[in-house]
Symmetry: C2
């Protein structure tokens, strides 16, 4: 059975099988932000923090943080707050961030190359272990420090399943995204990070996250125009009153 991935990964009820746990998916999505914030605090030499102060840093309520964490255990001390190093480690353990995760990148155009070079990735616990493209002129390129070859996309399923890669990044044009998703799924990939502006149809067991900057901008202009519709100054100096 196939169901399409949730819209822009917003609140949408995940009827999906990967999230049938008792812990709400929204909570899981907040954990990486908690972990990252704790890392920052730790690097500033701070040893512990109350849910209140942490909440201020992150922009949520203290109750939400305490509630979120309570799904997983009791990590704080009354009167004291949370030990930052310990809580960070706990969250990373919960999210399985203590291991490195191999990732397959499909699409090596501008976007794919930018992803491959992105410092955030290089510094993370995710490692691009295979790169694919359908453009024969790109096949065989040597990429990065570990000399990765760009492989033809027909090999996705075979290579990915052979290497046990469970995470795929889709950085292909919209028209090729669904096909790409299917090839990755055929190779037993169960998590997809999708940069293509399409709603992927994948089995319920596959977890999808969409990165969709245009949709984000478009959802913001809804609010924008409430105030800025009538007079819009352009860079040519003229004023455009529609």
């Amino acid at each position: 059975m196939t169901s399409s991935a949730n819209i822009a990964n917003t609140t949408n009820t995940p009827i999906t099988a990967f999230a049938d746990s008792e812990i709400p998916e929204v909570v899981i999505r907040r954990l990486p932000i908690y972990a990252r914030t704790l890392d920052t605090l730790l690097s500033q030499g701070i040893g512990n923090i109350s849910s209140n102060d942490l909440a201020d840093q992150i922009g949520v309520t203290a109750a939400q943080i305490r509630r979120d964490l309570s799904y997983f255990g009791r990590f704080g001390k009354q009167g004291k707050g949370y030990d930052i190093a310990m809580l960070g480690a706990e969250i990373r353990r919960i999210l399985n961030l203590n291991q490195h995760w191999d990732v397959a990148l499909v699409g090596f155009g501008h976007l794919g190359q930018a992803i491959a070079r992105y410092r955030g990735f290089l510094e993370s616990n995710f490692h691009i272990a295979a790169i694919f493209d359908d453009d024969s002129s790109k096949i065989g390129w040597r990429v990065g420090a570990d000399g990765l070859d760009v492989l033809p996309d027909e090999q996705i399923a075979e290579v990915v399943s052979q290497r046990g890669i469970k995470i795929g990044i889709i950085a292909v044009p919209a028209h090729a995204a669904q096909k790409t998703a299917e090839m990755l799924v055929a190779g037993q990939v169960v998590a997809l990070l999708n940069y293509a502006p399409v709603v992927l149809q994948v089995p319920d067991s596959v977890c999808v996250r969409d990165i969709d900057p245009i949709a984000m901008l478009q959802s913001m202009t809804y609010y924008l125009d409430k105030t800025y519709h009538h007079v819009h100054a352009h860079s040519n100096g003229f004023v455009d009153d529609d």
Copy 2:
């Protein structure tokens, strides 16, 4: 008063002033996907569609689509469904997508350059109208078809406010993101698309959307390991049983 932007732009209740309308923000976030899907259908020569069929395409329920649209009016016909061209136009009107929006891009490293080149942007109704960087070696670069100059970031507030730019894209390293946000806000920008992995502290009146691929991956590995923790095949052919 300043509040930090909501976590990863997930469900979080928007206490923020920009969203104090009666229409839920989650609904607004779905509209761009509806619009895009309708565009695709239209380009396939389909003239109208029922909420049921549209729901299948998008991966939501039909009731949700009907309910979402009902916030804005009555666009369908009983027994017939929605006229695709008309509904698409209505949604674009609601989202203020009928005008072009000038955008300021801050940060012209790998990421910023990839954004500037990204086809999705070029084809959208958003137009990069100013580019800033703090690296003096990049200042003065001529960029793109319209010969944009890369400007020093001290000029952000001045240039952005003078040109009436209301949308900013933050593509700077994490450590510079907060300062960048402040400069943009000082220039009267009211919508921020933030690629930096930090929670921005901005006034309630400013709308922020975060793009955070690492956080997305990290939230997916929570589910992954449930099944794939014990045996993790590496590309070297060995099997790593932790």
